[in-house]
Symmetry: C2
Subunit: 123 residues, 2 copies
DNA sequence: ATTACTGTATTAAGGACTTAATACAATAAT
DNA sequence: ATTATTGTATTAAGTCCTTAATACAGTAAT
């Protein structure tokens, strides 16, 4: 999964989301070691300071921890990761339903549109 | 519908989205006159320059037009508005399905979660 | 005719984000 | 022991966004 960065929001915010996603989806498994700040920055074509900022935030949230000079690791707390994943899913669903309701779609419409669209995207 | 502005994205971007939503959902009906730039800016607690920037973009897209010194109006082209609305819906659905798939949910899961969550939100 | 209200434009200032270029201390690898 | 690699910190520059303070021309209202 490559890095998708756009200029319409702060980069460090997008980095936080994408690293979090990699943790929640298992790309970075529990307990695994992350690439170094400099390597991650290179990967994402971003300044090390910016990557550092994102990592510090994820550490603050408890999804990562640092071992002084050996590197940074994903938490072994699989329950915390699971909760983070469910929280993300919940937010996506609520945002989506809210936006569709604002546009004037009711729940039956949403369900029928989404099931036909899901079939489209399977191809 | 009040204005919801956050600091995590440029304000003018959020203004564009929210005015567009008001047009697509009928809060600002086709052909109706908008409040003046200064009034809209006051409403949203934003600088007139910033509001002007958002309005200019919507005008560029054809959803608004300006009559020299009398004010700004929503397009009478109801078909264009309808297309904009459907485009918005499509984007929301695609974004949603993509994000849920990235998290590891398959379509059946998504459908069952959403239908139960929709019932929750009805209350 | 005068006044008030349109959209529009300009300039200056401040803030947040990003990059670049370093530097330092602690530890792993050799 | 020396070297390379960790995370971390600092400073300066540049960009974009936002605000503030004006100003102007055209038109509607009086």
């Amino acid at each position: 999964m490559p890095w998708h960065l756009t200029s319409d929001r702060p980069i460090y915010t997008q980095l936080i989301e994408q690293i979090k996603l990699k943790i929640c989806s298992g790309v970075y498994p529990p307990g695994s070691k992350l690439p170094s700040v400099r390597d991650l920055a290179r990967e994402a074509s971003v300044n090390p300071n910016t990557m550092q900022r994102a990592l510090a935030k994820l550490e603050e949230d408890g999804l990562l921890y640092t071992q002084r000079t050996s590197g940074r690791y994903v938490t072994e707390d699989v329950d915390m990761i699971k909760k983070a994943k469910n929280q993300l899913a919940k937010e996506h669903i609520q945002n989506f339903l809210t936006k569709m309701a604002e546009l004037g779609f009711d729940y039956d419409e949403i369900l029928s549109i989404i099931s036909s669209m899901a079939k489209e995207m399977k191809k």
